[in-house]
Symmetry: C2
Subunit: 138 residues, 2 copies
C-alpha cells in the first residue's frame, strides 16, 4: 500500500536489499541505449544511496576500501537511467548512459572483453583509448 | 603464446578466474538476442566446467549446496552462445538463448523486474506464466 506521506525522505527501499555479511551488494551496469553489459562492481548502503541521490553510479571499492565515484579519474561517469532489483533482492542492475563510451580501465567499452575460444580467454573487443591517455601517465 | 598441443584437454582457463574464498564466481546471464539481463547466479569450478562442456548454464545453488542445471524443473534452460570474463577475472557473463522466454522463478522474463519509483521497488514486468504451471503445484 502506498503511503500518502511519501514525500518524507524514506530509505525503506535500502532495507529491502539482502546485503552480504560484509554489507555489500553486486551492481551490474548496463548501457541503457544498446543493452551492452559494461561492468559489475560492488556497492554498500552509502554508495547505493549516493547513486540514487546524485543520479550517477557510485560504487564501493573493495580494494581501496572507499567510495568510488565512477569516472572520478577518467571522466567516464555513468549517468543513471533506471535502477532494478532482482527477485532475491541481492543483485542491483543499473541502466546507465556511459560517458565517453568507455567503462573499462583498459580503455575498452566493456569490462567483459575476453571470450573463451578453444580453451583460452582471448580479447574480443578493441582498446578505444590508451589507458595512459585516460588516466594520465605521470 | 599458443600451445601447439592444445588438443589435449586443458583447463588453464579455469585457473585464470579469481574465485572467491568460497570457490565461487558470479555469473550474469544475458539474452543473446535482445541484450536483456536475465539473472545473476553463482558458479563453482565444477559448474562452470559443466556449463562449457554441456553448452548450457549450470550454476551452483548456494542455498541448496548443489549443482543447479538451470531449467531442470522448469524446462527453461539457457543455451550457451558466448561466455565472457571481465578485466578483473572475477565475473562471468553468459550470453544465452533463454528457453521458454522465462528466466525468473516468478514467471517473469527477467529476475530484474523491480524498479525504484518514488522510493519504492515496484514491479515493472508482467508475469508471463503462473509459477504453479511452471513448477507444478503438487
Amino acid at each position: 500500500m502506498q503511503d500518502s506521506t511519501a514525500n518524507v525522505e524514506r530509505f525503506d527501499w535500502l532495507d529491502e536489499i539482502r546485503w552480504t555479511d560484509d554489507g555489500l551488494v553486486p551492481a551490474i551496469a548496463q548501457d541503457a541505449n544498446n543493452g551492452d553489459i559494461l561492468m559489475m562492481a560492488w556497492m554498500n548502503r552509502a554508495s547505493l544511496k549516493l547513486t540514487v541521490a546524485e543520479g550517477q553510479a557510485v560504487y564501493w571499492s573493495r580494494s581501496r576500501g572507499k567510495l568510488w565515484r565512477k569516472g572520478e579519474s577518467s571522466g567516464h561517469q555513468q549517468v543513471l537511467k533506471d535502477i532494478r532489483l532482482d527477485c532475491d533482492a541481492d543483485v542491483i542492475l543499473l541502466k546507465v548512459e556511459q560517458k565517453g563510451g568507455i567503462a573499462c580501465h583498459t580503455g575498452r567499452r566493456s569490462c567483459f572483453y575476453r571470450t573463451l575460444q578453444d580453451g583460452q580467454w582471448v580479447s574480443a573487443e578493441p582498446v578505444l583509448k590508451d589507458p595512459n591517455a585516460i588516466y594520465g601517465s605521470n
